[in-house]
């Protein structure tokens, strides 16, 4: 079981990279200047891992997901490189791909279950059509593909005979979300990106979808990237966790390390601001201030205006995301002070 693997908590040697992001930047030209909605991201995503990405609204999480598929919409411009390492064969720079190759890469290698699950199906076509179209667009065998679709749906606790002939508006929120996941897995991609997989679902449905996703992941042997603004959604689910603030990663590492020993003041503030049942109510606290807008990012460390331990250096110099410990990167000048001066305890009886 992966549980034991996880319990060791240490990185395994010779990890196999599936996606390598280098200096990825997305900009929007505006009448009055440029908006950076993704700022020089460097990241390796390993084959078979589950990577979680958390951050507030407008921190660039969803933009990052689009970037991984080179699907940034006009008039946004993506710079930098994203290299995909297939199981076999030569690495491919996704940003260099054109036309048919981009099409092939999308969904066959990397698929995205977007957060708009409520309207992700063509409202005038039954669910079946979406599966069939996808198969024929990628020249896949239809009978075999539909058989696979049925089996994926059964794995997701959906009755394929009922669901396939329904229209989007006839499905419940949970069914729609699962049907969309099934569509994402249809072409057996290497990487599946889930953007807010449980948003707008009831508590019980949320819980059961997370469990299904977790088991599916084991069974289908894919790399999962889970994006959410809700830490508890990813905390039990992902191996590594990246924290985004103001269009860049401020902390990245094993989930346990980031959550128990978070070294960035923002990570620690985010943990404290998340309502939960375990922490003492008085320990839960909001983050002062608001996140910057993309046109006007503060100089120096973008978190400095809200950071309780920021000093002059932070307002001038922008800290890089550097390795603090084994497989734990932080973009802060004072990780030790952050840990000492900004206490976080994930449960009432657990005082670090």
């Amino acid at each position: 079981m992966s549980e034991s693997e996880f319990a060791t908590g240490r990185p395994q040697e010779n990890r196999d990279t599936v996606l390598e992001v280098r200096d990825a930047t997305v900009t929007y030209e505006m009448g009055r200047g440029q908006a950076r909605v993704l700022n020089e991201i460097n990241l390796d995503i390993y084959r078979g891992e589950t990577l979680g990405i958390v951050g507030e609204s407008g921190s660039g999480k969803s933009m990052f997901a689009s970037t991984l598929m080179d699907a940034v919409e006009e008039p946004g411009r993506l710079q930098g490189s994203i290299t995909y390492y297939p199981d076999e064969g030569d690495p491919i720079d996704i940003t260099e791909l054109e036309g048919g190759d981009t099409k092939r890469l999308r969904w066959e290698e990397i698929a995205l279950v977007s957060q708009g699950a409520m309207s992700s199906f063509n409202p005038t076509k039954p669910i079946r059509t979406h599966f069939e179209e996808t198969l024929s667009a990628h020249n896949a065998d239809k009978d075999e593909g539909m058989e696979r679709a049925r089996s994926i749906m059964r794995d997701l606790n959906l009755d394929p005979d009922a669901i396939l002939d329904e229209y989007q508006h006839e499905l419940s929120g949970g069914q729609r979300q699962r049907a969309l996941v099934a569509l994402g897995l249809l072409l057996e991609p290497d990487v599946l990106i889930l953007d807010e997989p449980t948003a707008a679902l009831d508590l019980l449905m949320q819980r059961s979808i997370l469990r299904l996703l977790y088991t599916i992941k084991e069974e289908y042997d894919i790399t999962l990237i889970v994006i959410s603004h809700d830490l508890p959604v990813v905390s039990g689910f992902v191996d590594r966790l990246g924290v985004m603030y103001a269009f860049e990663f401020v902390e990245l590492g094993e989930t346990r390390d980031v959550m128990h020993e978070g070294a960035h003041p923002y990570t620690r503030a985010l943990l404290r601001s998340t309502p939960n049942l375990a922490m003492a109510v008085d320990d839960i606290a909001t983050i002062e201030g608001s996140s910057p807008d993309p046109i006007n990012i503060p100089s120096g460390c973008s978190y400095s205006p809200r950071c309780p331990i920021a000093d002059d250096r932070c307002t001038i110099e922008d800290p890089e995301l550097i390795e603090l410990e084994d497989d734990h990167d932080v973009a802060c000048f004072y990780p030790d002070r952050a840990r000492k001066e900004l206490p976080v305890s994930l449960s009432e009886d657990d005082s670090e």
Binding site: G31, M63, Q115, G116
Partner: protein, 350 residues
């Protein structure tokens, strides 16, 4: 009853108790109102090419209909100057040429304008008021009122307009331009009522309307302050298009000779040219046909452009940029631009 004056202090520091040490003057209020309802909409309209062009065209007609009729002499028959081409004679009367009996086309067009404008105005006001009232009441009240009003509306909407207008024109034989305007929109309101109702129906339970109701606002205030602003784009669009359809129909009926005869009307001039087959048979006297045709088409085009551009006037995103504000507020507005640029579609917000 005035209970608003400084209620007994519960807590001096309370933010609810704060008062200004400056009294607002009527001028302040006037300035705010003028800026919001006149300056800002005009600026928005002017910034849009359709709005600018439409505004110019319609203003031109209004000027001709008011000032123009004073300056331009009345049309008169002149057997000598028959079928002059435009600019053939250096005379204001024959600037646009003359018709088969020697009447100058410019005076003919100009002196028909006031009547047309009256018709348009009367028709647009009548048709739209009726449509808005029926649609609002029906959509907001719901229940049996709604059912009855909508049944009537559906019946009226199902009657083809032109055949009905023919009969009404024949029965009533209207001569007063205001009356003609009203008759011509006697069926058109039904479509607007349906449209308004369709918009009001979801609005009835939308959160901000409910909040206003919960606040204790009377139904009429809720309708005026919360519901109507949302409907304004549709209402102005329909105002322009009703005005346009009044021209369509009245010129058409005058052309057919089905409205009581009047010498100066664009449709009548058009008809007299059309009836004169030797005009139609050559390009030489084409102006007799083209001048009324263009006169009609330019006004309807202007109204169409204005209708299209008015949509922008009520769009708060566009409006925000044109309302007079402090400079530092303007800085923030670019956030909107990003959203419009499509970032929000990418899930930038969540």
């Amino acid at each position: 009853m005035g209970t608003g004056e400084s209620p007994a202090e519960k807590d001096d520091e309370s933010p609810f108790r704060s008062q200004s040490d400056y009294d607002a003057t009527a001028m302040d209020i006037y300035e705010v109102v003028f800026g919001r309802w006149v300056v800002a909409p005009l600026r928005v309209l002017w910034s849009d090419y359709r709005g600018r062009f439409g505004l110019l065209l319609v203003t031109f007609y209004v000027l001709v209909g008011t000032v123009g009729v004073v300056v331009i002499p009345e049309p008169s028959v002149d057997p000598i100057n028959r079928l002059l081409s435009p600019l053939e004679q250096p005379d204001l009367r024959y600037l646009l040429g003359s018709d088969g009996v020697g009447r100058g086309l410019l005076p003919l067009m100009a002196h028909a304008t006031p009547k047309m404008l009256k018709m348009m105005l009367a028709g647009a006001i009548f048709g739209n008021t009726l449509g808005v009232v029926v649609g609002l009441v029906s959509g907001y009240t719901g229940g049996n009122t709604d059912k009855i009003l909508m049944t009537v509306t559906d019946v009226v909407a199902s009657i083809p307009a032109l055949p009905l207008l023919l009969i009404l024109a024949a029965i009533i034989e209207p001569r007063n331009p205001y009356l003609i305007g009203v008759i011509l929109t006697v069926q058109a309101w039904a479509g607007l009522a349906r449209g308004i109702r369709a918009q009001v129906l979801p609005l009835r339970n939308v959160e901000y309307v409910e909040a206003s109701r919960t606040m204790g606002q009377s139904t009429s205030t809720v309708l005026m302050k919360q519901v109507l602003p949302d409907l304004l784009p549709l209402v102005t669009l329909r105002f322009m298009s009703t005005a346009r359809s009044v021209i369509f129909a009245s010129v058409g009926l005058y052309f057919l000779g089905l409205l009581p005869y009047t010498s100066a009307n664009w449709g009548v001039v058009l008809n007299s040219a059309y009836e004169n087959s030797n005009i139609l048979a050559s390009f030489e006297n084409a102006h007799w046909l083209l001048v009324p045709a263009l006169t009609i088409a330019m006004l309807t085009f202007g109204l169409t452009l204005l209708a299209q551009a008015f949509d922008q006037v009520f769009n708060p995103r566009v409006r925000a940029r044109h309302e007079a504000r402090k400079a530092d507020v303007e800085e923030d507005i670019d956030e909107t631009d990003i959203e419009e640029g499509g970032v929000s579609q990418l899930g930038f917000q969540q």
